[in-house]
């Protein structure tokens, strides 16, 4: 990037070349108010540029413009979304579990025994489409640093992924690269990948969603915050050298719609080095152990611009940085580029002068480069110097927090009524038992319902030796204390089809499903993080979807008592006029006092009784069946009843704790038959099912009514279990028994496990291997 100051009217025509090379200092900016500036190329709008001039009382320097452009980008400033995100705070349920809320690098939850858990989900969608391997890899790297910056040791990752149609040629390009990137980075960091999703839908063609979650564990007293206080304290940049990668990643890339005719945006994608990050993790944890930092921030989106302005803004305000001391990978980088670079594996710490030597020793031990680049001052300005000349002089808050706020217009799209009127009830149902059987196999073998082992077997799920449950289990579960068996469970879920049909309900269904998954494995849900993937906020229909979904999520969290601890918004997921399905992905974190009491999904023991918990209604709008068999999306999604979800969760947790159930699996995409098939295949046993009174076989097998789970109950526990459900008012219907090597629906059909396994296991390898 070269800053075009050549239009400077204050200099003689012959000085153009000299002016173009001249360092754009604060003093020079004051003297040349009319110099042309590339605000548009940097992704700023005209009124935003005018506002910067107003804040500074002069034109910004090139370096200042670079900082504002990245920090005021949609990605960093949430300018279109923050008026809606406010609800997560306003409607937050009262809870003692939240130690650190929204606004820090990640939220922190109290899980008892003195432990705190931090977790967060983020998107890395746009980079992953441009450069699948590096885009996905650096997505993992970024979220891991967020967790690390809170003071926690990262203990697990998860990656919800969404792609275009499974058989589309571009999916073959994008998916293997993204999966290899997630694995290549996470495996090399030594973080078990314990869950996530892989979803295919044509709506994600050209806009794959790569969301990444990380969980970290610390003791309460180890929580660190991103703030620079104490004048005289040193600002230390440590980790990788700064290079020319990822410049403008947040502004040019993440905050605009793809234009297929434009130039390649690959230079805006960062390049990751997981080995460097592993050293950074161990080095940082050792620094924390010796209590050497007063504040810390990772360098992610917007790089040094973000770290310096946010640290200063959250502290006492003043900071002075000598930018030319930053270690570079490429000596030709301009100050603007250094400020905007999103080079990976870097952290910024605020350290008392007396602790600097020890800090440096630990960095040397881990072969991590560390440099004092500045210090906290008693002023109120963030000042950045380049070889002694002042190139930035701004109030840090104006960069970090005073970005624009947009009240974007939103309106329920005119097609919404027609979509909802196009009910799934009119779709032809299987006419006889043979057709029903064929459709079960078709569903189980469809890309969205089939085994994702081809993907997840490329991730290390064992490293660190604390993995209690990992995919395809309902939640990923990690033991956090070897002596007490305290553990945490996390599940992520989202359903773009449901959310397209009704954004308010769809967001709540995502929340309900993740909540149910955590409870089904025996853990008590405590808090959530969300990744809100939507189209362009400049489209009123998309903004309406966003407004409805955030309202649904905030209301749902209030009702379930699970606060939003943080997350991320990804907008502009669209190509041309076509937006993705609105796709809020919800991650729920739960705690389990003794991981030995966890409930796995596998039906392992013959003779155990199968109970269906919850109410089954004829709900097929947005269902997997309607997609797989009829390629249909219309009608209304399943009704959501969060009080029922909460009751179901309590029953599942109690039954797990008291040893009343041996297996549990939540019912979601594909309904009962999908859940039973997965549990049977996992355990290596069949099941004999009986259609309960009042239901037809088709509805029994394929309905996607929410608030349901299937459990396996040992005969000795049956009475105790049904008594509990009866007393609490949760419908529980005995639907069969674990038995044999066939999934049999009495009076309808039977399918041998081998045939189900072939359908379930074969699909993804056949498409991608």
């Amino acid at each position: 990037m070269t800053l075009d100051t050549g239009k400077d009217t204050g200099t003689a025509p012959g000085d153009d070349a000299a002016a173009a090379k001249r360092l754009d200092t604060v003093e020079y900016a004051e003297r040349t108010p009319d110099a042309g500036q590339p605000w548009k190329e940097l992704g700023l709008k005209e009124d935003e540029y005018a506002r910067i001039r107003e804040i500074l009382g002069r034109r910004p320097t090139g370096a200042e413009l670079a900082m504002y452009s990245v920090m005021w980008s949609e990605h960093c400033s949430y300018k279109s979304s923050k008026v809606h995100l406010k609800q997560f705070g306003e409607k937050a349920p009262r809870t003692d579990a939240l130690l650190v809320g929204i606004g820090e690098n990640a939220g922190v939850v109290d899980v008892g025994q003195g432990y705190a858990v931090t977790f967060k989900i983020e998107s890395h969608n746009h980079p992953s489409y441009i450069e699948p391997y590096q885009g996905a890899a650096t997505g993992v790297g970024g979220i891991v640093r967020d967790i690390l910056a809170m003071g926690a040791r990262p203990v697990a990752v998860m990656d919800p992924l969404r792609f275009g149609a499974a058989d589309h040629p571009d999916t073959r390009r994008v998916l293997p690269g993204i999966v290899a990137g997630v694995g290549g980075y996470g495996n090399c960091l030594g973080l078990p990948n314990i869950g996530g999703e892989v979803v295919f839908d044509p709506c994600y063609q050209g806009n794959p969603l790569v969301n990444a979650l990380c969980v970290g564990v610390m003791k309460h007293e180890d929580i660190h915050l991103a703030q620079a206080s104490g004048p005289g304290n040193k600002v230390i940049l440590y980790g990788a050298r700064t290079g020319g990668d990822g410049i403008g990643g947040v502004s040019v890339l993440a905050s605009e719609t793809f234009d297929s005719t434009g130039p390649s945006r690959r230079p805006a994608v960062q390049v990751g080095d997981p080995f460097q990050e592993k050293l950074l993790i161990e080095c940082t944890l050792e620094i924390f152990r010796e209590q050497l930092v007063a504040g810390i921030q990772d360098l992610g989106g917007a790089g040094l611009s973000c770290a310096t302005s946010e640290l200063a803004s959250a502290g006492s305000g003043g900071m002075r940085v000598e930018l030319d001391t930053v270690p570079l990978r490429d000596a030709t980088l301009s100050p603007e580029e250094i400020l905007m670079s999103e080079s990976q594996e870097r952290m910024c710490a605020i350290v008392e002068p007396g602790k600097v030597d020890r800090f440096m020793e630990i960095c040397e031990k881990w072969d991590v480069i560390a440099t004092v680049i500045g210090e906290v001052t008693d002023g109120s300005q963030l000042e950045i110097f380049w070889h002694g000349e002042r190139i930035v002089d701004v109030p840090p808050r104006s960069v970090a927090h005073d970005g624009p706020t947009y009240h974007r217009p939103y309106a329920r799209p005119e097609w919404q009524d027609a979509l909802q009127a196009d009910s799934a009830d009119k779709l032809a149902r299987p006419a006889n038992a043979d057709e029903l059987r064929a459709q079960v196999l078709q569903l189980v073998g469809s890309p969205n319902q089939a085994s994702k082992a081809w993907v997840t077997d490329q991730y290390d799920r064992f490293v660190q030796g604390n993995t209690v449950l990992a995919q395809p289990e309902d939640s990923g579960m990690i033991r956090i204390d070897e002596d007490t068996n305290l553990g945490v469970a996390v599940a992520t879920d989202g359903n773009g089809r449901f959310t397209k049909l009704d954004p308010y309900t769809g967001a709540q269904l995502a929340l309900a499903e993740a909540y149910r998954n955590v409870a089904a494995s025996g853990a008590k849900p405590l808090a959530i993080s969300d990744c809100l993937n939507f189209g362009s906020p400049e489209d009123p229909a998309v903004m309406w979807q966003f407004a409805e979904a955030t309202r649904g999520l905030a209301d749902g969290c209030l009702q379930l008592g699970t606060p939003v601890t943080g997350g991320n918004v990804s907008l502009y997921n669209q190509t041309g006029d076509v937006a993705i399905h609105p796709t809020p992905v919800v991650a729920v974190l739960g705690v389990i006092d003794d991981v030995d009491r966890r409930t796995p999904m596998a039906f392992k023991d013959e003779g155990h009784l199968l109970y269906l918990l919850g109410d089954t209604r004829a709900e097929f709008g947005g269902s997997a069946w309607s997609q797989v068999v009829h390629d249909h999306l219309g009608g209304l999604p399943p009704a959501v009843d969060l009080d029922r979800e909460r009751l179901l969760g309590e029953i599942l947790i109690s039954a797990s704790r008291d040893g009343m159930i041996d297996a549990a699996h939540d019912l979601s995409d594909g309904g009962l038959v999908q859940a039973v098939t997965e549990s049977c295949l996992r355990g290596g046993h069949g099941a004999r099912l009986v259609v309960p009174d009042g239901l037809d076989a088709f509805t029994f097998l394929f309905s996607e009514s929410a608030g349901r789970a299937v459990v396996a109950v040992p005969r000795s526990e049956e009475l105790r279990f049904t008594d509990m459900c009866g007393a609490r008012g949760l419908p529980a219907a005995r639907i069969g028994v674990v038995d044999g090597e066939t999934v049999e629906v009495q009076g309808e059909f039977g399918i041998p496990l081998s045939e189900l396994r072939a359908a379930y296991d074969g699909t993804i390898p056949a498409l991608l291997a």
Binding site: N187, D273, W366, D457, Q458, G465, V468, V595, D761, I764
Partner: protein, 243 residues
């Protein structure tokens, strides 16, 4: 006095803490060893754990083998001290030539993580005495450069001297016949290793290297739920206590 088992940490080592835990579960004392330190702190045996030391730069294990700690380990191994190299540790051992051969990229070109069945071909090593010859065990496998290769002559020699310690066997024990992952269709051998070799020993039997991970299979609650990996650590413990 209990046996002291050293666990080396190189930059980029990942399974050091897990291996220390496995040593403790087996009843020995785990002693962390640092790559820059030549001092082995009077340990009785050493484990080189898995991971991506030095980011696998140049070639897996190629840089670690030059670290100060390895100088002492090579010396001690030649003098008979039990040494176990797991995954990246196995790669380091081949780079030091304590064990012959090398690891290539998996034939399917993917990272493979799965529960892996192995056949213990010989119990006559420091690390397998608690198994029986021909016993089948299942422990996790996870790597991208795990395809064992060596010259035919070397392979013949390993076989003749009974130094093939583990071979890949059967389908993964998690019941997914052939594995549904990147190795679908590839029964047993997950990566194209020559003669299905998963692990080997030196002539004296004190140095053993293998690609799968015994340290991830020592507690019934964790990972695959099997404890087949514990035998590695109890084997060496008995040998040390007897010595």
């Amino acid at each position: 006095m209990t046996a002291r088992v050293g666990v080396v940490t190189f930059p980029g080592t990942l399974d050091d803490r897990d291996t220390q835990r496995a040593v403790r579960v087996a009843g020995a004392e785990a002693v962390p060893l640092w790559h820059r330190d030549k001092d082995l702190k009077q340990v009785d045996a050493v484990v080189l754990p898995g991971g991506f030391s030095y980011g696998d730069y140049l070639r897996a294990g190629a840089i670690s083998r030059f670290s100060p700690v390895m100088e002492t380990i090579i010396e001690q191994a030649k003098a008979g001290m039990p040494v176990l190299g797991i995954c990246n540790g196995f790669q380091v051992l081949t780079e030091t030539h304590l064990l012959p051969g090398a690891m290539l990229r998996n034939d399917n070109l993917h990272f493979v993580c799965r529960d892996q069945k192995l056949r213990v071909e010989t119990s006559a090593t420091a690390w397998t005495a608690d198994f029986t010859d021909g016993q089948e065990i299942s422990i996790p496998l996870k790597n991208i450069d795990g395809r064992y290769t060596a010259a035919e002559r070397v392979l013949d020699e390993l076989e003749a001297e009974g130094r093939v310690v583990f071979r890949y066997a059967g389908p993964g024990a998690d019941g997914r016949a052939g594995g549904a992952g990147p190795t679908a269709g590839g029964y047993g051998n997950p990566n194209g290793s020559l003669r299905d070799i998963a692990g080997i020993s030196n002539a004296a039997g004190n140095v053993v290297g293998l690609m799968p991970h015994p340290e991830h299979a020592v507690e019934p609650l964790i990972g695959t739920g099997r404890t087949d990996g514990l035998g590695f650590f109890t084997s060496v413990l008995k040998k040390l206590v007897a010595a």
